[in-house]
Amino acid sequence: MSNQPIVKLVDVNKSYGNVYALEDINLDFYPGEIVSLVGDNGAGKSTLTKIISGTEAPDTNGKIMVDNQVVNNWSSAKARARGIETVYQNRALSEQQSIYDNVFLGREITNRFGIINRKKEIEETESLMRKIGYTSKVWTPLSSVNKLSGGERQGVAISRAILFDSRLVILDEPTTAMALTEAAEVLEFVRNLKKSGKSVIFISHNPWDAHAVADRFVILERGKIVFDGPKGSMSADDFIALLHKFAKKDIKS
């Protein structure tokens, strides 16, 4: 991918007590690219995304750069203001509220008295649902979230990212514990994110999912980057073989 990275991590470390969750991480995330971030349990994937999204601070020596500028006192509010949006799996939605209420939660379109402009929110939600690839005709923006499948719920959370002009969307295990068709739906949502010009960091333990959506792979093991390269013509089998190679190395050392 071309031009300057949205986010650049320079020598980032993160330790919890005497555990190194991340060691000497140097990574760039470019516009319009889906990066599949994979690695074993405890490899540091979630920690890495928390540092990018501002919910965890790295150890003092490392640098976070956004648009080639070093940022200080990085926080989740700042990250969001700079277009970095995280989709949390379980804490993302208020299930008893409608889809449109969830999409706009915390950033409601209101008049100056704070009364929600329902018509506008519903219209925008409708076009978002179409954009992100909702196939079910049953749901309208007024449907409450507790009726939706797991995949469709992810879709609601993901559609927020499109709405709020985010540039980099972080999805931490969005397909975990999902049936095949549901997961396929989420992958479609992710591809549509890219089509609307967003970059995506996609974390998954399912190598086929990770392979299917990726433009580039980053493999983390025990807090270190062991592979960072484009998908190119790599097949799913090649990718899985690669994963096995690093997992084996890990066991030996």
Partner: protein, 325 residues
């Protein structure tokens, strides 16, 4: 992809109100059939309209707290404490209504703030905290009031009285106050972003926080609303009877809570209905007044409540799916 069913389906958000309404109509029909000589006259409705607004205004605020996933049991003692502030100021200032009302509402607000603070900032259970506050505040009221009954015959034909609790034909003025307050709180709950944040606070506070919603502040404001509504009820109650007595909050707790649940607001939080509350309050007050008016012993009221609460919960469950658990 599931198929769309043909035919008209009642939108989900209207079901609790409609359920409460159908239940109310059913109850009316039974009352009218049982005692037409009572329930086909205007008098009984005027009697109901006298006390309905007080229960309903109280209940409106409880919809917010309940939807926010909390409960408030302290309001029956906030009413007499704030009422005392009102009565005392009236006496001290030679009937300066504005000042008295201001002080009264300030006291209600402070009680609500304290409840909200204890529950959110200290993370205490609202059930236990407000139960304790209920005892503490009535105790404080009695200590301050020292058993006095303050009568205000001067209020009987004041202009403020006719504005607050006078009558327009067969309709008491407080009904209009109820209508106004219900309209404002209905907008706040169902249309304003605050109402959405309240419901999210009761459903999945983490989701709200992740989106930058201040859940703690939202909940505190719900308790404050209860305090303010209790103060308003205190003022109306004093004007209605031209008397202050420290037991004026008794008899509110159970009927008001019943009105919330009969109205279709689930105890589990995350949802609520203002329209339903008004119907629920009407149901409850109807039983209270109606049972006595039919000549039955007052003891039957409680039995009536019990039956109505259980039946209406069953009805809401049938009607609105997983609304009530």
């Amino acid at each position: 992809m599931s198929k769309v069913k043909k035919g008209y389906v009642i939108p989900e958000r209207f079901r609790p109100v409609l359920g409460a309404f159908m239940f109310f109509v059913l109850m009316m029909v039974i009352f009218i059939a049982a005692a037409p000589e009572v329930f086909l006259t205007v008098g009984i409705y005027t009697a109901i309209f006298l006390s309905l607004p007080l229960f309903a205004i109280m209940g409106l605020s409880l919809v917010f707290v309940t939807a926010a996933g909390e409960i408030d049991l302290a309001f029956p003692s906030i009413i007499p404490l704030a009422g005392l502030a009102f009565a005392w100021t009236l006496q001290q200032t030679n009937f300066n209504f504005a000042l008295a009302a201001l002080f009264c509402i300030a006291v209600g607000l402070a009680c609500g703030l304290l409840n909200g603070y204890l529950v959110t900032k200290l993370g205490l259970s609202s059930l236990i905290t407000t139960l304790g506050m209920n005892f503490a505040l009535i105790g404080l009221t009695n200590v301050l009031n020292n058993g006095e009954v303050r009568t205000f015959s001067e209020l009987n034909d004041s202009a403020v009285r006719s504005i607050l609790v006078g009558s327009f034909g067969p309709i008491p003025a407080q009904m209009f106050w109820l209508a106004g307050i219900a309209l404002v709180l209905g907008m706040l709950f169902h249309r304003h972003k605050f109402g959405l944040h309240v419901r999210v606070a009761g459903d999945n506070p983490e989701a709200g926080r992740a989106m930058g919603v201040n859940i703690e502040r939202t909940k505190i404001l719900c308790f404050v609303l209860v305090g303010v509504c209790a103060a308003i009820v205190g003022i109306l109650g004093i004007y209605l009877n031209s008397t202050y007595f420290s037991t004026m909050g008794e008899g509110y707790l159970l009927p008001t809570l019943a009105a919330v649940f009969v109205g279709g607001t689930p105890v589990t939080g995350g949802k609520g209905t203002i329209g339903g509350l008004v119907i629920g309050a009407a149901t409850v007050v109807f039983i209270q007044t109606g049972v006595v008016a039919t000549g039955l012993d007052g003891y039957w009221t409680s039995l009536g409540f019990g039956v109505v609460i259980v039946l209406s919960l069953l009805g809401h469950r049938k009607f609105s799916g997983r609304l009530t658990r």
